[in-house]
Subunit: 415 residues, 2 copies
């Protein structure tokens, strides 16, 4: 029986499948695992720095002590013991929450999907930074919003432009403002305290929800901590994850939100996956209760810091003067802007030929801008490999820039 | 700063939050864990029958051998090693698939959400059995379809009524027919081979996709196996899970579908959770590779079979003649129909007072019918507890029926 040609089946998919985007990072996943490639594309933490023997013990303990509940269905909102760990983690940010304020999610990515599901009707406006985390654009775009991107500078989201956007959307206010204020993905920039206060003042004045995504907050290599938006305003929806401080393979993140919103999210989560993995939650509990995780994190921070310095030094040495880039104090990424005639999407195949991957910038913009930009990650490779990757990448860029310089000099192109 | 009263924030949620349903099973989750309650509500497998020492070893091996990849991000569609396990499991059903035909999901529940996301536009028609799995109704309803429910009898979905429904929806054909053909949830009935062929013939004639959800297919206690729909027609989308044959706490399920559809689902999954838990997948691999899982499953089947017999005997002994119920050959559930004047939703508080929970039937219907029905599960409690629970439940029902018999006799109510 062959009732349908599946290649011609396109008209039967939902309309949201038209607006949904592919992740360049996911698409590069296979390439990034080739041994001849130095990957500057993925935001993968360095699992090799974890004390795997202690993790193994934690996991074995999880099964020995709580085998039955670790393997059974759990409650949709997550284990109370895991939530207590989250409360402890949040206290480091001087944020006092109780287990009732928390839903455990399958990584922060599921939190983004659930927030899209809970809030966005097709055509609703939402606000993000531009560029922003491409996984957030993927998650939200499934619910067909109109996304307004607000540029950032070295002090984070441009609140003057945010105010203009809110003013000009008075008729149909955005459902929420989504921001990664600390060590932004992909920008690497951190929103200053003054900007944070301005953002919250605007959100309050216009009555718009704020979602603070904070995967990198603990990974600071220089400069002084800035308080979380959630610390400054308890109406802020806060998203956290263990992916960058422990392990993404456990897919454990969380949402902190006001109770009525949490109830709606919980309802959305019932239909999405019934409940998260109890085993993974128990492993997280053991890791944070029974291993010296703060010492491990210090070691991770020290390693990432050296890698970041290696990247900055290599950029300084090798990149052409036409390339500008951000100077992060933490996190995993920095953002490179090239002359506007260079298309980083087209350039990627040349970079792959040279044995380097990066994320072309346009995927991080809501509306297809940023073709002359790229995200590069310093989290994953060793310092020497990073220096080598930047040298190779600089060569690829230099070839492009060189070619175009000739056109510019001949009057055929303008900077 | 208090910019909003969140209780009055309802207008800002997406419209799909209005149509989304709560799960009675999830709501009963807390009650079901009270020690004085015998739970006939949840479809929880008996984890206590697993060889926890072997599972513990499998988990420790997972970390020792594959620590780094078990804890890192993985590919969106799942680990190839896990997919090879699925291929092996499918061969038991005489279904030959390759890893390319499979996406690993966070339980079959995520598969339902992804299928809703991939196919359903608001207002689209879909077809399910009526009653059907309430988690499927939850997952699909988030995408705002119009759901047409087709009743079943002892031979499964009534294909004559399915044909009528397809005929009368010719103008806008359903996006898919969702069925649990084997040991249906909540009905316990199994679709006969003849009905399966009729269903596939109709689906082919009208050009409508079929989704076969098969969590219980291996849990047969009597009667002869019937081939999967996917075996009869390789265009069928097949959903599987390890939840009922191993452990739901690992949230590992899968989708088998034609390649173009799988590509779309993969795209939807990227935004939903990036990837599943690698640790859970590695544990699944070790469980099916390195433990005598077939022997364990035989033990589970033997235990469930005894429980089912205990429930059937108790029903036969205690239930009033006005109550009818199905006679499953496998799975976890059977379906009880009471006289139509008995409201099982209202009756639930009395049952809880008597120390029993069940699932009121209306939650399993797309359109609020079935208020006089209930799902009862024989999977979770020991035979004595099941007999006791049925005795108590019969008392509660008898009180209701008795009260109403008087009204009927007085001519104030009709059967």
């Amino acid at each position: 029986m062959t009732r349908m040609v599946f290649d011609e089946w396109g008209s039967s998919y939902s309309s949201r499948m038209q607006t949904m985007r592919r992740s360049a990072v996911r698409d590069l996943f296979a390439a990034a695992s080739r041994s001849d490639i130095i990957s500057l594309s993925g935001g993968m933490p360095d699992i090799g720095k974890l004390p795997l023997d202690l993790v193994s013990k934690a996991v074995a303990a999880a099964i020995d002590e709580e085998g039955i509940s670790a393997l059974q269905y759990g409650s949709t909102d997550g284990r109370i013991q895991t939530k207590e760990i989250i409360c402890m983690l949040m206290r480091d940010f001087e944020i006092e929450v109780t287990p009732d304020d928390i839903i455990i999610t399958a990584g922060a990515q599921q939190a983004l999907d659930l927030l899209g599901k809970t809030f966005i009707n097709p055509g609703d406006t939402i606000i993000t930074e531009a560029p922003t985390y491409l996984g957030a654009l993927q998650a939200f775009s499934a619910y067909e919003p109109s996304i307004v991107g607000i540029p950032f500078d070295d002090d984070g989201m441009r609140t003057d432009l945010l105010e203009e956007a809110l003013e000009s959307n008075r008729e149909s206010l955005p459902k929420f403002i989504y921001t990664i204020p600390t060590f932004q993905n992909p920008g690497g920039v951190t929103m200053s305290l003054e900007r944070r206060k301005e953002l919250l003042e605007l959100a309050n004045r216009f009555g718009v929800l704020v979602i603070e995504d904070d995967p990198y907050g603990r990974l600071r290599y220089s400069g002084e901590p800035v308080p979380c938006l959630r610390k400054l305003d308890e109406n802020v929806i806060y998203l956290g994850t263990v992916s960058k401080v422990f392990a993404p393979g456990l897919r454990t993140g969380w949402i902190i939100a006001p109770q009525p919103i949490l109830n709606k999210i919980n309802l959305a989560k019932q239909g999405t996956d019934l409940c998260g993995s109890a085993l993974n939650q128990v492993v997280v509990e053991h890791y944070f209760n029974d291993t010296p995780w703060r010492k491990t994190l210090e070691r991770l921070i020290a390693a990432y810091s050296v890698r970041k310095d290696a990247m900055m030094a290599a950029l300084n040495e090798h990149f052409p003067p036409e390339a500008s880039y951000t100077h992060p104090d933490g996190g995993f990424f920095l953002w490179v802007t090239l002359p506007k005639y260079v298309d980083t999407g087209q350039m990627l195949s040349l970079a792959l030929d040279s044995g380097v991957t990066y994320v072309p910038g346009d995927g991080c913009y809501p509306n297809g801008e940023g073709r002359n930009s790229m995200r590069i990650a310093f989290c994953y490779e060793e310092p020497d490999a990073i220096a080598e990757a930047i040298r190779r990448l600089a060569g690829v860029i230099e070839d492009r820039v060189e070619l175009c310089r000739a056109f510019v000099n001949a009057g055929a192109l303008k900077y």
